[in-house]
Homo-oligomer: 215 residues x 2
Amino acid sequence: MTEQPGPRTTYRHGDLRRALIEAGTELAREGGPDAVVLREVTRRAGVTPNAAYRHFADKSALVRAVSLAAQSRLAAAMEEEQSAIADDVDGRKSVAALAQAKLRAVGAGYLRFAQTEPGLFRTAFANHVDIRDAATEESAGAHGRTPFQLLSDALDELVDAGVLSADRRGGAEFVAWSSVHGLAMLVIDGPLRGLDATQRLVAAQRLLEMVQNGI
Amino acid sequence: MTEQPGPRTTYRHGDLRRALIEAGTELAREGGPDAVVLREVTRRAGVTPNAAYRHFADKSALVRAVSLAAQSRLAAAMEEEQSAIADDVDGRKSVAALAQAKLRAVGAGYLRFAQTEPGLFRTAFANHVDIRDAATEESAGAHGRTPFQLLSDALDELVDAGVLSADRRGGAEFVAWSSVHGLAMLVIDGPLRGLDATQRLVAAQRLLEMVQNGI
DNA sequence: CACACTTGTGTACAGTGTTCACTTTTACCT
DNA sequence: AGGTAAAAGTGAACACTGTACACAAGTGTG
């Protein structure tokens, strides 16, 4: 992305930190979190392995940065799905139906990203992601909201619309997130990998339905 | 377990394959799938690294075997939870309530194992587990049933008891499994790691409730 | 312009998975 | 029995990895 052609001319790289994250992201996309190996990352950035240590404490710090970048892309996928819905109906639906559609879009975007970019998805949740990262700016999408925040927003709207009772609001993100996350993991990396596209879609629809009914 | 004290006396090990799996399981328990490293495994078995290649094609095959062993322990945890329920009520409940309790036990055992043995749990689902393994004998518990089969059984009983309508039976294992698996992953390895014991329990109860209502 | 600071390089080390050639033990066949 | 082929172990080597240490090349500030 930044400098493929030969060794760079300047001694200083210019924006090595970003270049390392980008190269790491590319590796993660191709082979998941284990594929982001420090030496290869620096190689792609046209720099010595040790140069990475000027920008990251160690490999795990680099991977964490890549993970945040992946989360940011996940947020973007969710926002995309949401805006598609908004464009589609644009006020023709009741607030309740719209709020439900918005929550559904959160889940659908999540699942779509997991299947479209399994390597990045696994990286997003691979290593020691802390809930404190759920609100960090680096993992936010275009509108500045992280995946977790997007889910929270959708649930809040569901309460405002009267679909979800206030006393069931607490902890709702945990169970909603769990369901969707579980399906994603099982489908891309787990025992449900064998499922073909239509089976996956059916399972996804069924799951989102369950969340809507059971939350 | 098999031979700690010094180098063994016989040239042949006797049961190296099992010893390797046991050592690998111990490592997995302590540090998850990435901690099971071939050289350390052979070291613990008192054998040269290359000896492992007489029993496993490569490292990933060894890890797969360890993964199956972990799944087997998971099945045992689920069976344990189920038999506890059976002892508790023993015919005092209706078939419907008993079937529901059995399904709940499946989920509870799953979540308990994930939190009690996070390393093994992560290993059980880490690398390239195939759904075909879901029926393999090596991953079965004491009663010869794999985790997936235990879930299927519980859902079947739910249909027999008239709690779950037959037309909602198909694909039910996917959504049920997904929910529980997702919570487990998020709690032990993901963004929900910060939750304390009571928060986890609340989330678990809430989730199992949702599955019961929404399935 | 000198000097401290940042950012990159070079060399080195321990640890990993895996291959190849070798030795030791076991099992089988006449 | 005895000879022999397969099975199960060893040993040295290679190409990797992450990381530490000492040093060099640029950069901004007094």
